[in-house]
């Protein structure tokens, strides 16, 4: 019983414990906040990428693309694991917006899609601002007869606002995009060498797409599939596309689904191997969304790992602080240890007193840090909003980063893991000085070895 009494009295009566508790709570607070925000950013980023491409992508590495996709789409329709599939033709192009600056040619990526199919496969329809009926995605409201296009929300400059939102007109305005692409034939050569090297066509702003992915929102212009195929030369001599995006049914896991599509694709290639242009199948890969977007997601994951390592070092510092605090306390309690030993308290009893003290520091410190972290995260966006309104200060400059709210979804398992880690850090930090104290000879502790 003396262990509990002494440990609690040391905890309550020693001002230095305030330092130890503050250090632990501060570390827990910082780790919870940073891990939650960082974790939220990574999860959000992955989710946006997943939404952007669907579950699986059958994609050509080459700008030339691959043919016979309609036949393969038919097969996908009959595949039980597939919910929807969307053919996409991609290419690079130059664009001009004459109403804004007729001399400014800027590079864009063109994505030719069937908006209905693409909306079933990805969350494309949810990224649109004006369109309610996806059948009319490429029909400008002001003149449905004109060919429409959907640029990424950042393609039209100057619309991003400091709060992360975008300026939108009440209804789409008649902005013309003159898009010029270099059509390639199935061999990869310029399709119209000797005639017009460039395919140029005007499209009219019908909506914009806000996917939350900086690159897509800043450089992609969606066009009707057929139009994009013409611009990219994928309409001759046989129709080609760059990729097929696939969404699986809910009960199908992505790896299982990808495996089935791979098998289906292998069979398809085998069957079409003697057809003209079948050599283009060599460039085609069947990938899960994670693999397809690896080059984009990986740096962020690496950053997350780096942050975790950095915060593990913070944990080491916590252990060191606890070690120093306990060492100081135990140094001052040398006499007490001698007294306890002189009345027959065993080594484990002394050890328990100081370890309990460490546990109290850890429990109280981690609890305070967790509560503070939780409260901060709940209010972080309000706080940032207030700071922005009052002092024009933001954690992230929304005119530069495609981030809306600061991610603050609190994961209880993460808080629990940080709490337990902090407690363990305190116990480890307290173990060495406690062991040292417990092993002292009674006369040494009492400092009565005078003659």
């Amino acid at each position: 019983m003396y262990k509990w009494i002494l440990a609690s009295r040391y905890f309550l009566k020693r001002p230095i414990t305030i330092l130890a508790v503050s250090a632990v709570s501060l570390c827990v607070f910082i780790v919870i906040v940073v891990m939650t925000v960082m974790n939220g950013l990574v999860i959000d980023f992955k989710e946006k990428n997943h939404n952007f491409v669907g579950d699986c992508v059958v994609e050509s590495d080459s700008l030339v693309g691959f043919g016979y996709y309609e036949e393969f789409l038919e097969r996908l329709k009959n595949e039980s694991s597939v919910l929807a599939a969307s053919p996409v033709s991609k290419g690079v192009a130059m664009a001009v917006m004459p109403r804004i600056d007729k001399n400014n040619n800027f590079g864009v990526e063109i994505y030719g899609i069937d908006p209905v199919l693409h909306s079933r496969t990805t969350t494309f329809s949810q990224t649109l601002y004006y369109t309610k009926d996806t059948l009319k995605t490429f029909e400008p409201e002001y003149d449905p007869q004109r060919p429409g296009c959907v640029p990424g929300v950042d393609v039209i400059p100057g619309r991003r606002q400091s709060d992360g939102g975008y300026y939108h007109w009440d209804s789409p305005v008649g902005l013309e995009f003159i898009i010029s692409a270099f059509p390639l034939n199935s061999k990869g050569a310029l399709a119209r060498a000797g005639t017009d090297l460039v395919s140029t066509k005007s499209f009219y702003y019908s909506d914009d797409s806000h996917s939350g992915l900086a690159r897509a929102d800043g450089s992609v212009i969606y066009l009707p599939l057929q139009q994009a195929q013409i611009l990219c030369g994928m309409d001759t001599p046989f129709k080609r596309i760059s990729s097929i995006h696939i969404k699986f049914k809910e009960d199908i896991s992505v790896p299982d689904g990808v495996e089935k599509i791979q098998s289906l694709w292998n069979d398809f290639c085998e069957q079409y191997k003697n057809k003209p242009g079948a050599d283009l199948f060599d460039n085609v890969r069947v990938q899960s969304w994670q693999v397809n977007r690896r080059s984009i997601i990986a740096p962020m994951e690496t950053e997350q790992v780096m942050m975790m390592v950095a915060f593990m070092m913070l944990g080491v510092i916590t252990v060191f602080i606890i070690f120093v605090v306990l060492y100081m306390i135990i140094s001052h309690k040398s006499k007490d240890i001698g007294i306890l030993k002189s009345v027959g308290v065993p080594v484990r009893g002394i050890l328990t007193v100081f370890l309990l003290f460490s546990v109290f520091v850890g429990l109280i410190g981690a609890s305070l840090g967790s509560i503070a972290g939780y409260a901060f995260l709940v209010k972080v966006n309000d706080l940032e909003g207030w700071l922005h309104a009052k002092y024009q200060w933001q954690l992230w400059d929304r005119t530069m980063y495609a981030i809306g709210d600061i991610p603050n979804t609190i994961e209880l398992p993460v808080i629990a893991a940080i709490f337990v880690s902090a407690l363990a850090a305190c116990i480890i930090g307290g173990l060495v000085p406690s062991l040292q104290a417990a092993r002292k000879k009674p006369v040494e502790s009492l400092q009565v070895n005078q003659l």
Partner: protein, 231 residues
């Protein structure tokens, strides 16, 4: 008369820089049950060292200490803890009370140490009653909830004596129990110890004061690390 404690050929030395200082040079000592034994000697002659060795707070370089016929050298660590908890009670010159605990809690520490947390719930009432009786006997009935720093030197020493007696140890070891007190308070403490001895408590007391030593039934004079004479 039965012997409670016997020390044979006790040697103890300390390292002082590069030199080695021999403090005890073969001390032989026998303490019969119920005796009040005073160990007297000049400052630095090894009195306290001898007392610590007798109470298993320290170990001799050479020689044996037998308690009730059992050699302390053969005791394992846990048995030595039990020995210090049940068989001996210590009273130190500087009281050595735990500042964070109240008077009552200080007295109860040895009783708490003798059992686990669960065992304490069974023992608590009995031990608390006993502690209160002891503290009442030493005139501290009104001081149970006070902290040591709220007490006078004499009161603190009486708390220390009560703590030493809480587990009814057969042997009480007192290291200059009046050394830090004025003569009037010291006299009161000495009377309390003599009273305990009169009730049968065996006691070894270290002092450098001849007048205090004269109160003991046996006086052992330590000179130059050896017992010069036993009176």
């Amino acid at each position: 008369m039965n012997t409670i404690l016997r020390a044979k050929n006790i040697h103890k030395s300390y390292k002082m820089g590069k030199a080695r200082l021999e403090v005890l040079k073969g001390v032989d000592l026998t303490v019969p049950k119920g005796r009040l034994v005073a160990i007297i000697g000049a400052s630095g002659c090894g009195k306290s060292t001898l007392l610590h060795i007798l109470g298993a707070l320290d170990t001799p370089d050479q020689g044996d200490v037998e308690f009730d016929g059992q050699n302390l050298k053969t005791f394992r660590r846990s048995k030595l803890d039990q020995f210090r908890n049940k068989k001996v009670g210590f009273v130190f010159q500087f009281y050595h009370l735990l500042d964070e605990l109240s008077v009552l809690e200080n007295v109860l520490v040895p009783a708490m140490a003798s059992t686990g947390t669960l065992g304490w719930f069974n023992l608590r009432e009995k031990a608390e009653n006993k502690a209160k009786v002891l503290l009442e006997r030493f005139g501290l009935k009104e001081r149970l909830r006070h902290k040591p720093y709220e007490l006078s030197g004499g009161e603190r020493q009486r708390v220390a004596i009560a703590r030493a007696l809480i587990n009814d140890p057969p042997l009480l070891l007192a290291d200059e129990p009046t050394g830090n007190l004025d003569s009037r308070t010291g006299h009161g403490i000495l009377e309390a110890l003599k009273e305990l001895n009169a009730e049968g408590q065996t006691m070894i007391m270290v002092t450098h004061d001849e007048r205090i030593a004269a109160q003991a039934q046996t006086v052992i004079r330590l000179v130059d690390g050896k017992i010069k004479q036993a009176e």
